[in-house]
Subunit: 530 residues, 2 copies
């Protein structure tokens, strides 16, 4: 059981949601970060939480809770942060993080954090992405030419955020891209990201050679008006870099990267996203869209990790980061992919150095290629490590990676694996407050408060059902032993007695123990293991 | 599809099994390490592969393929290695590892590796555990007072080794311990480990206070005669260390550790396993049983990691390691437990320093406490990292950890998560040959050889079934596009064309491309992602 509670900010309309887990006995409830949103009728969409905040700033003409950007304005969180302003969005995000709002403002101002919040997505609950803050996770959804529907995708959105997705990317291809995206944005309390290139390609009949800056720009405006909060732009796939990928084991595995490579080669011209980057920045600034600079040349296999193609593009992304910042546009940088464990740290260090500390946003990375159907695990290993080293957001990988489109179960499996990776990284980074969750659960475990343990876990239903499989009866939920070992072996039980024992002095207790018939320790038992 | 093939050693009866994956086209087959054993009738047991080798050495009186130790002999692999002998067991293990047999001998002689092989378990296929070699994984099975039967446990053994378990521990408690173990050892081609303390406790009616050295010693002899290859001994839980665990969040979570702590406190005497350790070594030497020195004070929560209780015991295990080596007995050291990522490396470094490079054998570690039902994932993260840092064997954790007894599905999930962690560690350590598997699978993926990709994966059936869910038709298995993206988007396809393109010179190809109508790149597509 979890209760949605709200923490009040400096004004009445800053009400920050948390999932509160009530505990039994005199144990204080635990508040967890909550991404699930307010809940609403999917037909109507969510209420425009940020509407008043956007309107008050006066730099957009109010429309449908959001606004049409006024000419020449740069209503970005980066511009406000640089001007020293703490927006309601920053305060909201700071309360979620448990930090001073000035820290959020300063990290955004320095480019080390982003707060993706399109002026046309007033339904979003503000959140911040940066290495100083809790590690975030993204879930990809989207229709494809092969399968799935709009309703299914909105359902996946709600499902993903219920389990903890901090942002969602709509990677729809095929028909009904616009309609799918509209349904997703209007129903999303988390920032929505897209790869506009996919829709631009649809507009030219699927032929990358026919792509042009004009078609792309129109697509950006269309999506900007809908409220997309961040967009992946493969502006770093430069013509001279393309041959660097030719001798790879797996070539170019980024969809966007391969489209731009095809365009560059066919025209023998430089990437139009690179040559028009300044104009792109002006567009992004008007709506406060955050760049997610795509790594079109990311490695798609262990063999290709950390090669020259990958790092050449990263250097260009560093250059583009500075251009975006000149336009007051927020930036994060996308990263790999497939990387063996010993090469992970180099990725973060180089990205932080080349991109001036802009937030890193990585896909996994997968630490081995040999486990299709389990790539949520191969990549959770890499994600946890890269998070520990300073990556700000982890793009999830589902068990269906490389094999098929994720269904609901796959989305849940991916989100939970990444929630684990992100939290493990928070612990390793010593994020204040991260440990409280672990300690509360471990204390509940040690004290045989089974229901508290279930309710505190990332997936209470599954934890409870696993316990039920071995010990279904309700009294077992208050049993002072574990279901692995049964009543005769329980190390937890004896440890509790040792505690008391130590407190009272060992010799005294030893005598008391023997005189009491030596039965105190009878229900000796243990957790699994040895 | 995988074929069992054998590589011949220096004598006809050294035939080392591998799982060979035939590939399509002119791609060479890939040989994978194989733990599945020869397969046999569970009623009869496996053939005694090592029988002749044990008999030839003349230090045991042959019995049932194995032997009764002759008085005063030390028929251990460590004694032979120190004498400069390469036993057939060492050669067998070396062929599995793809290294020179002298390397196996030298690592065993130096104490940096163990080859667990009780003279009474002739059915086992020799394998070596040490940081120079492939990282190994262990699966725990066993009956409990609450549930499960002998037949079920033998089935779990076969199932676990089918998916890649390198050793199996029988942690049975409750009734029929002897019978269960007999069935397991006779049917196991992998080394079997136990915690003899559990059976000793049964013999004294479950009361730890009634335990004695005599009961324990008799239990050791009983299990030694059955052929147990390695035994967990909690000889490092010393009386003065017990109070160090009193203020922990989760006290003592090791079953064996809590039993010995209870005994020490009740008697106010030093741990009888510690005070009788030399005699224990003499017994182990007679049968060539390998010590797995248990970490009875390992942390059971993030809060308790790397504390004084844990490291005090580790120092004692270092001391005991030297005593065992004096008796020519092989030793490995058990490790945690629950450890946040930033504290993992210290565990390996300290263990290697204190224990003279003896192999480390860790349980996970879990990198967060908050995900019961997903602890195969929380711990695979820690296991991969600790493997990279030099841990030789990883004890698996199943999704049921902390909640219930693992069933078949849980055993498979645990083994596969650990197979992934171990292989990721092999890659990160640069183990020669580890990369070949990844490269073969990635090459198959890039070339759309779907069946090859499935057959090379850790779980071909699941990979194939996931692909079927999206694209069930058989022609899809030869389709030149991914099931995520459909035929119009495929980065793999375009990358293949880029390869050809680069080889022929970009300008030429660009002209050719345009003159051909610009359609070459039409099936542009991509892997999932962005």
């Amino acid at each position: 059981m979890r209760n949605k509670v709200y923490q009040q900010g400096s004004r009445p309309d800053i009400r920050v949601p948390f999932a509160e887990v009530p505990l039994t006995g005199d144990n204080a409830p635990v508040r967890l970060y909550d991404t699930s949103g307010p809940g609403s009728d999917p037909e109507v969409g969510l209420p425009p939480l940020r509407g008043p905040w956007i309107a008050e700033r006066g730099d957009v003409a109010p429309v449908r809770g959001g606004g049409t950007p006024l000419a020449g304005t740069r209503p970005t969180q980066l511009a406000y942060a640089r001007a020293g302003t703490i927006t309601p969005e920053m305060e909201f995000a700071a309360i979620r993080e448990g930090v001073d709002p000035a820290v959020v403002r300063d990290e955004i101002a320095a480019g080390r954090a982003v707060l993706p919040a399109n002026v046309n997505h007033p339904e979003s609950e503000p959140m911040v992405i940066g290495s100083r803050f809790l590690v975030k996770i993204n879930a990809n959804i989207g229709t494809s030419a092969v399968t799935s529907s709009v309703a299914e995708e909105v359902d996946k959105l709600t499902w993903a955020t219920r389990w903890g997705a901090d942002t969602v990317m709509d990677l729809s291809t095929g028909a009904r891209i616009h309609e799918t995206r509209e349904a997703i944005v209007r129903n999303s309390a988390v920032p929505i990201g897209t790869v506009p290139l996919y829709q631009a390609l649809e507009k030219v009949g699927g032929d990358p050679v026919k792509l042009s800056w004009e078609v792309y720009r129109d697509t950006i405006v269309e999506q900007a008006e809908q409220g997309v909060d961040y967009m992946t732009v493969h502006a770093g796939v430069l013509l001279p870099y393309v041959p660097l990928a030719a001798d790879r084991v797996t070539g170019i595995v980024s969809r966007g990267g391969s489209i731009m490579a095809a365009w560059c080669l066919a025209h023998h011209e430089e990437n139009f996203l690179y040559t028009n980057f300044a104009e792109l920045c002006s567009l992004f600034a008007r709506y406060d869209i955050t760049f997610s600079l795509g790594d079109g040349l990311r490695p798609g296999s262990i063999a290709d990790a950390n090669d020259e193609a990958q790092f050449a593009e990263l250097r260009t992304l560093g250059e583009l980061t500075r251009v975006a910042w000149e336009h007051d546009v927020q930036v994060m940088i996308e990263g790999p992919g497939h990387v063996p464990m010993h090469k992970i740290k180099e990725n973060v260090d180089l990205q932080q150095e080349l991109c001036g500390g802009a937030p890193f946003y990585t896909l996994g990375p997968l630490t081995t290629d040999v486990a299709p159907a389990y790539d949520h695990i191969t990549s959770a290993i890499g994600a946890a490590m890269i998070g520990m080293f300073g990556t700000a957001m982890l793009c999830y990988v589902t068990p269906k990676e490389h094999l098929g489109l994720p269904n609901r179960d796959d989305v849940k499996a991916g989100v939970i694996a990444y929630k684990i990776a992100a939290h493990a990284a928070d612990l390793a980074k010593g994020h204040p407050g991260a440990r409280a969750w672990d300690d509360a659960l471990s204390k509940a475990r040690f004290e045989f408060r089974w229901e508290d343990q279930f309710n505190l876990s990332v997936d209470p239903e599954t934890a409870r059902s696993y316990h039920d499989e071995t010990l279904p009866a309700s009294p077992a939920k208050t049993a002072h032993f574990c279901s692995m070992c049964g009543p005769k072996f329980c190390s937890m039980k004896i440890s509790q007695e040792l505690k008391e024992y130590a407190a009272r002095g060992m010799q005294d207790k030893s005598e008391e123990f023997v005189s009491a018939g030596g039965r105190v320790y009878l229900p000796v038992s243990g957790l699994p293991g040895r």
